[in-house]
Protein backbone atom coordinates (compact mmCIF):
# COMPACT_ATOMS: atom_id res chain seq x y z
CA UNK A 1 0.00 0.00 0.00
CA UNK A 2 1.26 3.43 -0.88
CA UNK A 3 -0.60 6.71 -0.78
CA UNK A 4 0.31 9.19 -3.46
CA UNK A 5 -0.61 12.82 -3.94
CA UNK A 6 -1.80 14.11 -7.28
CA UNK A 7 -0.12 17.49 -6.79
CA UNK A 8 3.18 15.80 -6.02
CA UNK A 9 2.97 13.80 -9.26
CA UNK A 10 2.43 17.05 -11.14
CA UNK A 11 6.09 17.94 -10.36
CA UNK A 12 7.11 15.38 -12.96
CA UNK A 13 4.90 16.66 -15.77
CA UNK A 14 5.25 19.85 -17.73
CA UNK A 15 1.64 19.85 -18.83
CA UNK A 16 -1.23 19.50 -16.41
CA UNK A 17 -2.38 15.96 -15.72
CA UNK A 18 -5.97 14.93 -15.07
CA UNK A 19 -6.81 12.56 -12.27
CA UNK A 20 -9.11 10.31 -14.32
CA UNK A 21 -6.58 10.02 -17.14
CA UNK A 22 -3.73 8.91 -14.91
CA UNK A 23 -5.99 6.49 -13.05
CA UNK A 24 -7.09 4.94 -16.34
CA UNK A 25 -3.48 4.41 -17.33
CA UNK A 26 -2.55 2.88 -13.99
CA UNK A 27 -5.60 0.60 -14.02
CA UNK A 28 -4.70 -0.62 -17.49
CA UNK A 29 -1.30 -1.53 -16.10
CA UNK A 30 -3.09 -3.81 -13.68
CA UNK A 31 -2.89 -1.76 -10.50
CA UNK A 32 -5.67 -1.86 -7.96
CA UNK A 33 -6.67 0.92 -5.64
CA UNK A 34 -7.91 1.41 -2.13
CA UNK A 35 -9.52 4.59 -0.87
CA UNK A 36 -9.35 8.07 -2.35
CA UNK A 37 -9.42 11.28 -0.33
CA UNK A 38 -9.57 14.92 -1.34
CA UNK A 39 -7.61 17.56 0.57
CA UNK A 40 -7.74 21.24 -0.30
CA UNK A 41 -6.90 21.09 -3.97
CA UNK A 42 -5.12 17.73 -3.79
CA UNK A 43 -6.27 14.15 -4.27
CA UNK A 44 -4.65 11.34 -2.25
CA UNK A 45 -5.11 7.84 -3.59
CA UNK A 46 -4.10 4.54 -2.07
CA UNK A 47 -2.48 2.19 -4.56
CA UNK A 48 -2.09 -1.52 -3.89
CA UNK A 49 1.51 -2.39 -4.58
CA UNK A 50 2.36 -6.06 -4.91
CA UNK A 51 5.70 -7.37 -3.67
CA UNK A 52 7.29 -7.26 -7.14
CA UNK A 53 6.79 -3.52 -7.66
CA UNK A 54 8.70 -1.64 -4.95
CA UNK A 55 9.30 0.98 -7.66
CA UNK A 56 5.69 2.07 -7.18
CA UNK A 57 6.26 3.04 -3.56
CA UNK A 58 7.33 6.60 -4.39
CA UNK A 59 6.12 9.43 -6.59
CA UNK A 60 8.97 9.38 -9.09
CA UNK A 61 8.25 5.68 -9.68
CA UNK A 62 4.58 6.31 -10.36
CA UNK A 63 5.51 9.16 -12.70
CA UNK A 64 7.96 6.83 -14.47
CA UNK A 65 5.18 4.25 -14.91
CA UNK A 66 2.86 6.89 -16.38
CA UNK A 67 5.52 8.30 -18.69
CA UNK A 68 6.57 4.84 -19.84
CA UNK A 69 2.97 4.32 -20.90
CA UNK A 70 3.47 7.09 -23.46
CA UNK A 71 7.01 6.05 -24.32
CA UNK A 72 8.57 8.93 -22.38
CA UNK A 73 11.22 9.04 -19.68
CA UNK A 74 11.47 10.84 -16.38
CA UNK A 75 14.34 13.30 -15.98
CA UNK A 76 17.48 12.08 -14.25
CA UNK A 77 18.09 13.05 -10.65
CA UNK A 78 20.14 16.27 -10.70
CA UNK A 79 22.44 17.43 -7.92
CA UNK A 80 25.77 19.12 -7.28
CA UNK A 81 28.57 16.61 -7.67
CA UNK A 82 30.94 15.67 -4.88
CA UNK A 83 33.98 13.45 -5.06
CA UNK A 84 33.92 10.05 -3.39
CA UNK A 85 36.82 9.47 -1.04
CA UNK A 86 36.23 6.75 1.52
CA UNK A 87 39.68 7.00 3.17
CA UNK A 88 39.37 10.65 4.04
CA UNK A 89 35.76 10.60 5.19
CA UNK A 90 35.48 12.33 8.60
CA UNK A 91 33.99 9.18 10.19
CA UNK A 92 35.60 5.77 9.95
CA UNK A 93 32.91 3.47 8.53
CA UNK A 94 33.05 -0.34 8.52
CA UNK A 95 30.44 -2.21 6.55
CA UNK A 96 29.67 -5.94 6.56
CA UNK A 97 28.72 -6.55 2.94
CA UNK A 98 26.49 -9.49 3.94
CA UNK A 99 23.99 -7.18 5.56
CA UNK A 100 24.50 -4.04 3.51
CA UNK A 101 25.01 -3.97 -0.23
CA UNK A 102 25.70 -0.27 -0.55
CA UNK A 103 26.36 2.42 2.00
CA UNK A 104 26.63 6.11 1.13
CA UNK A 105 27.19 8.92 3.61
CA UNK A 106 28.26 12.54 3.67
CA UNK A 107 28.84 15.24 6.22
CA UNK A 108 27.10 18.60 6.28
CA UNK A 109 28.64 21.19 8.59
CA UNK A 110 26.92 24.18 10.11
CA UNK A 111 23.24 23.45 9.57
CA UNK A 112 20.68 25.55 11.36
CA UNK A 113 17.88 23.37 12.66
CA UNK A 114 16.05 26.27 14.25
CA UNK A 115 14.78 27.03 10.76
CA UNK A 116 11.33 25.51 10.39
CA UNK A 117 10.50 23.05 7.62
CA UNK A 118 9.15 24.90 4.56
CA UNK A 119 5.38 24.96 4.36
CA UNK A 120 5.13 23.02 1.09
CA UNK A 121 7.05 20.07 2.53
CA UNK A 122 4.94 19.96 5.70
CA UNK A 123 1.78 20.11 3.62
CA UNK A 124 2.84 17.24 1.41
CA UNK A 125 3.91 15.10 4.37
CA UNK A 126 0.66 15.85 6.17
CA UNK A 127 -1.62 14.76 3.35
CA UNK A 128 0.26 11.46 3.34
CA UNK A 129 -0.16 11.24 7.14
CA UNK A 130 3.47 11.77 8.10
CA UNK A 131 4.21 14.02 11.06
CA UNK A 132 6.72 16.80 10.92
CA UNK A 133 9.74 16.39 13.26
CA UNK A 134 12.42 18.87 12.22
CA UNK A 135 13.73 20.18 8.92
CA UNK A 136 16.41 17.50 8.38
CA UNK A 137 14.14 14.56 9.25
CA UNK A 138 11.27 16.03 7.23
CA UNK A 139 13.46 16.52 4.16
CA UNK A 140 14.67 12.93 4.56
CA UNK A 141 11.10 11.67 4.60
CA UNK A 142 10.18 13.91 1.71
CA UNK A 143 13.05 12.52 -0.37
CA UNK A 144 12.03 8.94 0.47
CA UNK A 145 8.44 9.53 -0.65
CA UNK A 146 9.69 11.34 -3.73
CA UNK A 147 12.51 9.05 -4.86
CA UNK A 148 12.09 5.88 -2.83
CA UNK A 149 15.42 5.94 -1.00
CA UNK A 150 15.14 5.96 2.81
CA UNK A 151 17.44 8.58 4.32
CA UNK A 152 18.81 8.61 7.86
CA UNK A 153 20.63 11.37 9.65
CA UNK A 154 22.99 11.41 12.67
CA UNK A 155 24.17 14.24 14.84
CA UNK A 156 27.90 14.23 14.07
CA UNK A 157 28.86 15.36 17.57
CA UNK A 158 26.98 12.45 19.13
CA UNK A 159 28.94 9.80 17.24
CA UNK A 160 31.53 8.63 19.72
CA UNK A 161 34.95 7.49 18.61
CA UNK A 162 34.37 8.93 15.12
CA UNK A 163 33.41 5.46 14.03
CA UNK A 164 30.33 3.73 12.63
CA UNK A 165 29.99 -0.01 12.11
CA UNK A 166 27.22 -1.60 10.06
CA UNK A 167 26.92 -5.24 11.10
CA UNK A 168 24.88 -7.84 12.95
CA UNK A 169 24.52 -7.10 16.64
CA UNK A 170 26.87 -9.22 18.73
CA UNK A 171 24.73 -9.19 21.84
CA UNK A 172 21.22 -8.40 23.09
CA UNK A 173 20.73 -4.82 24.20
CA UNK A 174 18.03 -2.29 25.00
CA UNK A 175 17.54 0.80 22.87
CA UNK A 176 15.33 3.86 22.99
CA UNK A 177 13.98 4.74 19.58
CA UNK A 178 14.06 8.36 18.48
CA UNK A 179 10.35 8.66 19.26
CA UNK A 180 11.00 7.49 22.82
CA UNK A 181 9.85 3.85 22.78
CA UNK A 182 11.89 1.12 24.41
CA UNK A 183 12.88 -1.82 22.23
CA UNK A 184 15.07 -4.85 22.67
CA UNK A 185 17.63 -5.56 19.99
CA UNK A 186 18.63 -9.21 19.82
CA UNK A 187 21.90 -10.76 18.76
CA UNK A 188 21.90 -10.97 14.97
CA UNK A 189 19.73 -7.92 14.22
CA UNK A 190 21.43 -5.49 11.87
CA UNK A 191 22.51 -2.34 13.63
CA UNK A 192 24.69 0.68 13.10
CA UNK A 193 26.80 1.34 16.15
CA UNK A 194 29.66 3.53 17.35
CA UNK A 195 32.02 3.07 20.32
CA UNK A 196 29.20 3.82 22.74
CA UNK A 197 26.45 1.56 21.42
CA UNK A 198 23.66 1.23 18.91
CA UNK A 199 22.85 4.39 17.01
CA UNK A 200 20.35 2.96 14.56
CA UNK A 201 18.55 -0.31 13.83
CA UNK A 202 19.54 -0.50 10.19
CA UNK A 203 16.74 0.31 7.80
CA UNK A 204 14.17 0.18 10.57
CA UNK A 205 14.45 2.97 13.12
CA UNK A 206 16.97 5.40 14.62
CA UNK A 207 17.76 5.70 18.30
CA UNK A 208 17.73 8.73 20.53
CA UNK A 209 21.49 8.38 20.96
CA UNK A 210 22.40 10.13 17.71
CA UNK A 211 19.16 11.81 16.80
CA UNK A 212 19.30 15.18 15.07
CA UNK A 213 17.77 17.88 17.27
CA UNK A 214 17.27 21.62 17.30
CA UNK A 215 20.80 22.26 18.56
CA UNK A 216 22.56 19.98 16.09
CA UNK A 217 25.30 21.75 14.12
CA UNK A 218 26.90 19.06 11.96
CA UNK A 219 25.16 16.04 10.53
CA UNK A 220 26.07 12.76 8.88
CA UNK A 221 23.52 11.93 6.22
CA UNK A 222 23.13 8.27 5.28
CA UNK A 223 21.56 6.50 2.30
CA UNK A 224 22.05 2.76 2.24
CA UNK A 225 20.89 -0.44 0.67
CA UNK A 226 20.46 -3.02 3.40
CA UNK A 227 19.88 -6.71 2.81
CA UNK A 228 16.14 -7.30 2.35
CA UNK A 229 15.89 -10.43 4.49
CA UNK A 230 17.96 -8.99 7.35
CA UNK A 231 15.75 -5.89 7.52
CA UNK A 232 12.61 -7.99 7.33
CA UNK A 233 13.68 -10.34 10.11
CA UNK A 234 14.77 -7.48 12.35
CA UNK A 235 11.59 -5.50 11.73
CA UNK A 236 9.44 -8.59 12.36
CA UNK A 237 11.22 -9.40 15.59
CA UNK A 238 11.05 -5.88 16.97
CA UNK A 239 7.45 -5.57 15.75
CA UNK A 240 8.40 -2.19 14.34
CA UNK A 241 7.42 -1.51 10.77
CA UNK A 242 8.36 1.87 9.36
CA UNK A 243 8.04 3.34 5.86
CA UNK A 244 11.78 2.76 5.62
CA UNK A 245 11.73 -0.94 6.64
CA UNK A 246 8.73 -1.52 4.37
CA UNK A 247 10.78 -0.29 1.41
CA UNK A 248 14.00 -2.09 2.29
CA UNK A 249 12.14 -5.40 2.66
CA UNK A 250 10.84 -5.08 -0.87
CA UNK A 251 13.97 -3.69 -2.42
CA UNK A 252 15.35 -0.21 -3.07
CA UNK A 253 17.07 0.88 -6.28
CA UNK A 254 20.73 0.24 -5.55
CA UNK A 255 21.96 2.44 -8.38
CA UNK A 256 20.36 5.67 -7.25
CA UNK A 257 21.61 5.57 -3.64
CA UNK A 258 24.34 8.17 -4.08
CA UNK A 259 22.33 10.42 -6.40
CA UNK A 260 19.43 10.61 -4.00
CA UNK A 261 21.77 11.23 -1.06
CA UNK A 262 23.41 14.16 -2.86
CA UNK A 263 20.06 15.54 -3.94
CA UNK A 264 18.81 15.33 -0.37
CA UNK A 265 21.98 17.05 0.90
CA UNK A 266 21.43 19.85 -1.62
CA UNK A 267 17.92 20.36 -0.33
CA UNK A 268 19.12 20.46 3.28
CA UNK A 269 21.84 23.02 2.63
CA UNK A 270 19.41 25.11 0.64
CA UNK A 271 16.85 25.14 3.45
CA UNK A 272 18.92 24.88 6.64
CA UNK A 273 22.18 26.34 5.41
CA UNK A 274 25.51 24.57 6.04
CA UNK A 275 28.03 23.10 3.66
CA UNK A 276 28.55 19.63 2.21
CA UNK A 277 32.05 18.48 3.16
CA UNK A 278 34.29 17.57 0.23
CA UNK A 279 34.73 13.82 0.72
CA UNK A 280 31.73 11.58 0.26
CA UNK A 281 31.63 7.97 1.43
CA UNK A 282 30.39 5.27 -0.97
CA UNK A 283 30.75 1.59 -0.15
CA UNK A 284 29.51 -0.41 -3.14
CA UNK A 285 31.53 -3.63 -3.48
CA UNK A 286 29.38 -5.53 -5.96
CA UNK A 287 28.14 -3.18 -8.63
CA UNK A 288 24.97 -4.18 -10.38
Amino acid sequence: MFKFSLNWLRDYFEEDIKYDEIMDKLKLQGFEFGGKKEFDGDVVTEIEVKANRPDMLYHMGIARELKAFDGEKIPEITHENSAVNNENFPVKINVNKEVCKRYCALKISGVNLKIPTPEYIIKRLNVLEINSVNAVVDIGNYVMLDMGQPIHSYDFDKISGNKLTIDKSEKDSKITTFIGDEAEVKKGDIVISDDEGIKCVAGVIGTQGAAVTEITKDIILEAANFDEISVRLTSRRLKISTPSSFRFERGVNINSTLDVLLKCANMITKICGGKIEANVFDFYPEKK
Binding site: L28, G30, K50, A51, I229
Partner: protein
Protein backbone atom coordinates in the same frame (compact mmCIF):
# COMPACT_ATOMS: atom_id res chain seq x y z
CA UNK B 1 -56.48 -89.68 41.61
CA UNK B 2 -54.57 -89.57 38.32
CA UNK B 3 -57.86 -90.18 36.45
CA UNK B 4 -59.22 -86.85 37.80
CA UNK B 5 -56.18 -85.08 36.52
CA UNK B 6 -56.42 -86.66 33.08
CA UNK B 7 -60.05 -85.55 32.86
CA UNK B 8 -59.13 -82.05 33.98
CA UNK B 9 -56.50 -81.95 31.26
CA UNK B 10 -59.06 -82.90 28.63
CA UNK B 11 -61.31 -80.08 29.84
CA UNK B 12 -58.46 -77.63 29.76
CA UNK B 13 -57.77 -78.59 26.17
CA UNK B 14 -61.31 -77.65 25.21
CA UNK B 15 -61.15 -74.43 27.28
CA UNK B 16 -57.96 -73.44 25.54
CA UNK B 17 -59.35 -74.09 22.09
CA UNK B 18 -62.41 -71.99 22.88
CA UNK B 19 -60.38 -69.22 24.41
CA UNK B 20 -58.13 -69.09 21.34
CA UNK B 21 -61.12 -68.64 19.11
CA UNK B 22 -62.17 -65.42 20.83
CA UNK B 23 -58.80 -63.70 21.48
CA UNK B 24 -58.47 -60.35 19.71
CA UNK B 25 -54.83 -59.43 19.90
CA UNK B 26 -51.34 -60.55 20.83
CA UNK B 27 -51.72 -59.31 24.38
CA UNK B 28 -54.56 -61.69 25.06
CA UNK B 29 -52.62 -64.51 23.42
CA UNK B 30 -49.69 -64.01 25.73
CA UNK B 31 -52.10 -63.99 28.72
CA UNK B 32 -53.29 -67.43 27.64
CA UNK B 33 -49.69 -68.52 27.24
CA UNK B 34 -49.01 -67.64 30.86
CA UNK B 35 -52.18 -69.25 32.10
CA UNK B 36 -51.90 -72.57 30.27
CA UNK B 37 -48.26 -73.08 29.50
CA UNK B 38 -46.72 -71.66 32.64
CA UNK B 39 -49.17 -71.80 35.55
CA UNK B 40 -51.17 -74.92 34.59
CA UNK B 41 -48.21 -76.99 33.39
CA UNK B 42 -46.34 -76.06 36.56
CA UNK B 43 -49.34 -77.20 38.56
CA UNK B 44 -49.43 -80.50 36.68
CA UNK B 45 -45.76 -81.18 37.33
CA UNK B 46 -46.30 -80.55 41.02
CA UNK B 47 -49.21 -83.07 41.03
CA UNK B 48 -46.83 -85.65 39.56
CA UNK B 49 -45.10 -85.94 42.93
CA UNK B 50 -48.30 -87.22 44.53
CA UNK B 51 -48.86 -90.27 42.31
CA UNK B 52 -47.34 -93.75 42.31
CA UNK B 53 -44.32 -94.67 40.25
CA UNK B 54 -46.33 -96.56 37.62
CA UNK B 55 -48.93 -93.84 37.26
CA UNK B 56 -46.14 -91.30 36.90
CA UNK B 57 -45.16 -92.82 33.55
CA UNK B 58 -48.59 -92.59 31.94
CA UNK B 59 -49.50 -89.27 33.54
CA UNK B 60 -46.15 -87.81 32.52
CA UNK B 61 -46.87 -88.68 28.93
CA UNK B 62 -50.35 -87.10 29.11
CA UNK B 63 -48.90 -83.91 30.60
CA UNK B 64 -46.23 -83.70 27.90
CA UNK B 65 -48.85 -84.27 25.19
CA UNK B 66 -50.93 -81.44 26.63
CA UNK B 67 -47.91 -79.17 26.75
CA UNK B 68 -47.09 -79.84 23.09
CA UNK B 69 -50.74 -79.46 22.11
CA UNK B 70 -51.08 -76.10 23.92
CA UNK B 71 -47.80 -74.77 22.55
CA UNK B 72 -48.76 -75.63 19.00
CA UNK B 73 -52.25 -74.11 19.21
CA UNK B 74 -51.05 -70.89 20.85
CA UNK B 75 -48.20 -70.51 18.37
CA UNK B 76 -50.63 -70.87 15.48
CA UNK B 77 -52.82 -68.02 16.69
CA UNK B 78 -49.87 -65.93 17.78
CA UNK B 79 -48.16 -66.06 14.39
CA UNK B 80 -51.43 -65.09 12.73
CA UNK B 81 -51.62 -61.92 14.81
CA UNK B 82 -47.93 -61.17 14.38
CA UNK B 83 -48.27 -61.28 10.64
CA UNK B 84 -51.26 -58.96 10.73
CA UNK B 85 -49.41 -56.52 12.98
CA UNK B 86 -46.36 -56.16 10.76
CA UNK B 87 -48.49 -55.73 7.72
CA UNK B 88 -50.46 -52.86 9.27
CA UNK B 89 -47.36 -50.96 10.55
CA UNK B 90 -45.57 -50.58 7.25
CA UNK B 91 -47.73 -49.62 4.37
CA UNK B 92 -45.22 -49.27 1.61
CA UNK B 93 -47.78 -48.03 -0.84
CA UNK B 94 -48.69 -44.91 1.12
CA UNK B 95 -47.93 -41.56 -0.65
CA UNK B 96 -46.53 -38.66 1.33
CA UNK B 97 -46.35 -35.44 -0.64
CA UNK B 98 -44.30 -33.16 1.67
CA UNK B 99 -41.01 -35.06 1.67
CA UNK B 100 -37.98 -32.76 1.28
CA UNK B 101 -35.43 -34.28 -1.02
CA UNK B 102 -31.81 -33.35 -0.42
CA UNK B 103 -29.65 -32.21 -3.29
CA UNK B 104 -26.12 -31.08 -4.02
CA UNK B 105 -24.82 -27.98 -2.23
CA UNK B 106 -24.68 -25.04 -4.65
CA UNK B 107 -20.89 -24.89 -4.28
CA UNK B 108 -20.57 -28.56 -5.19
CA UNK B 109 -22.98 -28.09 -8.05
CA UNK B 110 -20.97 -25.20 -9.47
CA UNK B 111 -17.76 -27.13 -8.94
CA UNK B 112 -19.13 -30.11 -10.86
CA UNK B 113 -20.09 -27.83 -13.69
CA UNK B 114 -16.61 -26.28 -13.81
CA UNK B 115 -14.96 -29.67 -13.53
CA UNK B 116 -16.97 -30.88 -16.50
CA UNK B 117 -15.77 -27.96 -18.64
CA UNK B 118 -12.12 -28.63 -17.84
CA UNK B 119 -12.41 -32.39 -18.16
CA UNK B 120 -13.95 -31.70 -21.56
CA UNK B 121 -10.77 -29.82 -22.47
CA UNK B 122 -8.65 -32.79 -21.46
CA UNK B 123 -7.73 -31.94 -17.86
CA UNK B 124 -7.61 -34.75 -15.32
CA UNK B 125 -8.56 -34.28 -11.68
CA UNK B 126 -5.96 -34.77 -8.94
CA UNK B 127 -5.89 -34.11 -5.20
CA UNK B 128 -3.52 -33.28 -2.37
CA UNK B 129 -3.47 -32.98 1.43
CA UNK B 130 -4.90 -30.03 3.38
CA UNK B 131 -2.16 -30.18 6.00
CA UNK B 132 0.99 -29.17 4.15
CA UNK B 133 4.63 -28.52 4.79
CA UNK B 134 6.34 -25.25 4.00
CA UNK B 135 8.27 -26.78 1.11
CA UNK B 136 5.14 -27.49 -0.94
CA UNK B 137 3.03 -24.54 0.16
CA UNK B 138 5.73 -21.89 -0.31
CA UNK B 139 9.31 -22.77 -1.00
CA UNK B 140 8.95 -24.79 -4.19
CA UNK B 141 6.52 -22.17 -5.48
CA UNK B 142 9.34 -19.65 -5.72
CA UNK B 143 8.45 -18.21 -2.30
CA UNK B 144 11.65 -18.63 -0.26
CA UNK B 145 11.54 -17.96 3.48
CA UNK B 146 11.16 -14.25 4.32
CA UNK B 147 9.79 -13.36 0.90
CA UNK B 148 7.53 -10.30 1.34
CA UNK B 149 4.87 -11.91 -0.87
CA UNK B 150 4.27 -14.36 1.97
CA UNK B 151 2.45 -11.47 3.62
CA UNK B 152 -0.25 -11.85 0.96
CA UNK B 153 -1.28 -15.14 2.55
CA UNK B 154 -1.60 -15.02 6.31
CA UNK B 155 -1.18 -18.69 7.16
CA UNK B 156 -2.40 -20.94 9.99
CA UNK B 157 0.47 -22.95 11.44
CA UNK B 158 -0.02 -26.33 13.05
CA UNK B 159 3.57 -26.31 14.22
CA UNK B 160 5.52 -23.28 13.07
CA UNK B 161 7.51 -22.86 10.97
CA UNK B 162 7.07 -26.00 8.94
CA UNK B 163 3.64 -27.63 9.26
CA UNK B 164 0.67 -25.56 8.16
CA UNK B 165 -2.82 -25.60 6.74
CA UNK B 166 -2.37 -25.01 3.03
CA UNK B 167 -3.02 -21.38 2.10
CA UNK B 168 -3.67 -22.28 -1.52
CA UNK B 169 -4.13 -25.42 -3.58
CA UNK B 170 -0.97 -24.65 -5.56
CA UNK B 171 0.88 -27.13 -3.36
CA UNK B 172 -0.86 -29.88 -5.34
CA UNK B 173 0.85 -28.78 -8.55
CA UNK B 174 4.29 -29.27 -7.01
CA UNK B 175 3.34 -32.68 -5.59
CA UNK B 176 1.99 -33.80 -8.96
CA UNK B 177 4.93 -32.48 -10.99
CA UNK B 178 7.40 -34.16 -8.64
CA UNK B 179 5.73 -37.49 -9.30
CA UNK B 180 5.28 -37.29 -13.06
CA UNK B 181 6.90 -36.11 -16.25
CA UNK B 182 5.42 -33.61 -18.72
CA UNK B 183 3.05 -33.31 -20.50
CA UNK B 184 0.79 -32.55 -17.56
CA UNK B 185 -2.75 -31.25 -17.74
CA UNK B 186 -4.50 -31.28 -14.39
CA UNK B 187 -7.03 -29.49 -12.22
CA UNK B 188 -7.16 -29.78 -8.47
CA UNK B 189 -9.47 -28.28 -5.91
CA UNK B 190 -10.23 -28.20 -2.22
CA UNK B 191 -10.42 -26.17 0.94
CA UNK B 192 -7.70 -23.69 1.79
CA UNK B 193 -7.12 -21.70 4.97
CA UNK B 194 -6.02 -18.16 5.70
CA UNK B 195 -6.11 -16.07 8.85
CA UNK B 196 -9.02 -13.74 8.20
CA UNK B 197 -11.93 -12.42 10.21
CA UNK B 198 -15.35 -13.42 8.97
CA UNK B 199 -16.98 -10.55 7.11
CA UNK B 200 -19.26 -10.34 4.06
CA UNK B 201 -16.37 -11.00 1.69
CA UNK B 202 -13.96 -13.14 3.76
CA UNK B 203 -13.98 -16.45 5.58
CA UNK B 204 -10.94 -18.17 7.09
CA UNK B 205 -11.70 -21.31 5.08
CA UNK B 206 -12.67 -21.28 1.44
CA UNK B 207 -12.50 -23.33 -1.75
CA UNK B 208 -10.08 -23.03 -4.62
CA UNK B 209 -9.88 -24.64 -8.00
CA UNK B 210 -6.57 -24.53 -9.80
CA UNK B 211 -5.27 -25.84 -13.05
CA UNK B 212 -1.87 -26.55 -14.53
CA UNK B 213 -0.69 -27.43 -18.00
CA UNK B 214 2.95 -28.16 -18.69
CA UNK B 215 4.31 -29.32 -22.02
CA UNK B 216 6.49 -28.16 -24.85
CA UNK B 217 5.40 -24.94 -26.56
CA UNK B 218 2.67 -23.95 -24.11
CA UNK B 219 2.20 -20.20 -24.51
CA UNK B 220 0.16 -17.36 -23.11
CA UNK B 221 -2.18 -17.87 -26.06
CA UNK B 222 -3.06 -21.29 -24.64
CA UNK B 223 -3.72 -19.70 -21.27
CA UNK B 224 -6.06 -17.16 -22.83
CA UNK B 225 -7.87 -19.79 -24.86
CA UNK B 226 -8.41 -22.12 -21.90
CA UNK B 227 -9.70 -19.40 -19.59
CA UNK B 228 -11.92 -17.62 -22.10
CA UNK B 229 -13.48 -20.93 -23.07
CA UNK B 230 -14.01 -21.82 -19.42
CA UNK B 231 -15.70 -18.52 -18.51
CA UNK B 232 -17.93 -18.55 -21.59
CA UNK B 233 -19.02 -22.13 -20.95
CA UNK B 234 -19.93 -21.42 -17.35
CA UNK B 235 -21.31 -17.88 -17.60
CA UNK B 236 -22.57 -17.79 -21.16
CA UNK B 237 -21.27 -16.95 -24.60
CA UNK B 238 -21.82 -13.18 -24.15
CA UNK B 239 -19.38 -12.97 -21.19
CA UNK B 240 -16.58 -10.46 -21.74
CA UNK B 241 -13.09 -11.42 -20.52
CA UNK B 242 -10.00 -9.27 -19.98
CA UNK B 243 -6.48 -9.94 -18.72
CA UNK B 244 -4.65 -7.44 -16.50
CA UNK B 245 -0.97 -7.56 -15.46
CA UNK B 246 -0.64 -8.89 -11.94
CA UNK B 247 1.91 -10.55 -9.69
CA UNK B 248 2.24 -14.02 -8.24
CA UNK B 249 5.67 -15.29 -7.26
CA UNK B 250 5.07 -18.63 -9.00
CA UNK B 251 4.12 -17.29 -12.41
CA UNK B 252 5.83 -14.90 -14.84
CA UNK B 253 4.17 -13.06 -16.46
CA UNK B 254 1.10 -13.10 -14.24
CA UNK B 255 -2.36 -11.93 -15.13
CA UNK B 256 -5.52 -11.22 -13.19
CA UNK B 257 -8.56 -12.24 -15.20
CA UNK B 258 -11.73 -10.14 -15.09
CA UNK B 259 -15.08 -10.98 -16.59
CA UNK B 260 -17.92 -8.64 -17.36
CA UNK B 261 -20.19 -8.12 -14.36
CA UNK B 262 -22.89 -10.78 -14.19
CA UNK B 263 -25.31 -8.45 -12.49
CA UNK B 264 -25.25 -5.41 -14.78
CA UNK B 265 -23.61 -6.91 -17.85
CA UNK B 266 -20.80 -4.35 -17.78
CA UNK B 267 -22.76 -1.13 -17.33
CA UNK B 268 -21.55 -0.64 -13.76
CA UNK B 269 -23.34 -1.46 -10.51
CA UNK B 270 -22.64 -1.98 -6.81
CA UNK B 271 -21.36 -5.54 -7.27
CA UNK B 272 -18.63 -4.50 -9.70
CA UNK B 273 -17.99 -1.18 -7.89
CA UNK B 274 -19.06 0.67 -11.03
CA UNK B 275 -16.25 -0.75 -13.10
CA UNK B 276 -18.28 -3.25 -15.09
CA UNK B 277 -15.73 -5.97 -14.34
CA UNK B 278 -15.32 -8.62 -11.65
CA UNK B 279 -11.96 -10.23 -10.97
CA UNK B 280 -12.41 -14.00 -10.96
CA UNK B 281 -9.09 -15.67 -11.71
CA UNK B 282 -5.41 -15.37 -11.08
CA UNK B 283 -3.20 -16.85 -13.76
CA UNK B 284 0.13 -16.80 -15.50
CA UNK B 285 2.92 -18.73 -17.13
CA UNK B 286 4.65 -21.05 -14.64
CA UNK B 287 7.84 -19.43 -13.32
CA UNK B 288 11.00 -21.18 -14.59
CA UNK B 289 12.20 -21.49 -10.97
CA UNK B 290 9.12 -23.58 -10.18
CA UNK B 291 9.74 -25.88 -13.16
CA UNK B 292 13.44 -26.24 -12.34
CA UNK B 293 12.53 -26.89 -8.71
CA UNK B 294 10.70 -30.08 -9.65
CA UNK B 295 13.40 -31.15 -12.05
CA UNK B 296 11.88 -30.05 -15.36
CA UNK B 297 13.99 -28.43 -18.04
CA UNK B 298 12.56 -24.92 -18.16
CA UNK B 299 14.18 -24.31 -21.57
CA UNK B 300 12.25 -27.20 -23.08
CA UNK B 301 8.99 -27.05 -21.19
CA UNK B 302 6.69 -24.16 -20.42
CA UNK B 303 3.49 -24.16 -18.48
CA UNK B 304 0.37 -22.25 -17.71
CA UNK B 305 -1.38 -22.13 -14.36
CA UNK B 306 -4.55 -20.56 -13.07
CA UNK B 307 -6.52 -20.49 -9.87
CA UNK B 308 -9.91 -19.30 -8.77
CA UNK B 309 -11.82 -18.87 -5.54
CA UNK B 310 -14.92 -20.99 -5.89
CA UNK B 311 -16.79 -18.92 -3.28
CA UNK B 312 -16.21 -15.66 -5.12
CA UNK B 313 -17.24 -17.22 -8.38
CA UNK B 314 -20.35 -18.66 -6.74
CA UNK B 315 -21.40 -15.17 -5.64
CA UNK B 316 -21.30 -14.02 -9.24
CA UNK B 317 -22.88 -17.19 -10.53
CA UNK B 318 -25.80 -17.26 -8.09
CA UNK B 319 -26.03 -13.48 -7.76
CA UNK B 320 -25.43 -13.46 -4.02
CA UNK B 321 -23.85 -10.55 -2.17
CA UNK B 322 -22.20 -12.22 0.81
CA UNK B 323 -19.76 -15.12 0.99
CA UNK B 324 -21.17 -16.04 4.42
CA UNK B 325 -24.50 -16.96 2.83
CA UNK B 326 -22.80 -19.94 1.20
CA UNK B 327 -22.22 -21.50 4.62
CA UNK B 328 -25.45 -20.61 6.38
CA UNK B 329 -27.36 -23.33 4.51
CA UNK B 330 -30.63 -21.47 4.46
CA UNK B 331 -32.95 -23.94 2.71
CA UNK B 332 -35.29 -21.26 1.39
CA UNK B 333 -32.32 -19.53 -0.26
CA UNK B 334 -31.07 -22.77 -1.78
CA UNK B 335 -34.52 -23.45 -3.19
CA UNK B 336 -34.42 -20.10 -4.97
CA UNK B 337 -31.11 -20.69 -6.68
Amino acid sequence: MSADIVKDIENKKIDLENALKIVEDLKEVSALKIEYLKKYVKFLYSELKNVSVEEKKTLGKVINDFKNFAEEKIKEVESKYKQEKSASKYDVTIFKDNIKLGSMHPLTKLYKKIEKVFVGMGFSVVQGPEIEIDKYNFEKLNLPPHHPARDMQDTFYISAPNVLLRSHTSSVQIRTMEKSKPPIQIIYHGTVYRVDDIDPQHTPMFYQIEGLMVAEKISFANLKAVLIKFLKEVFGEETGVRFRPSYYPYTEPSAAVDMSCTKCGGKGCKTCRNTGWITVLGSGMVHPNVLEGVGYDSKKYTGLAFGLGLNRLALAYYNLDEIRKLYENDISLWQQI
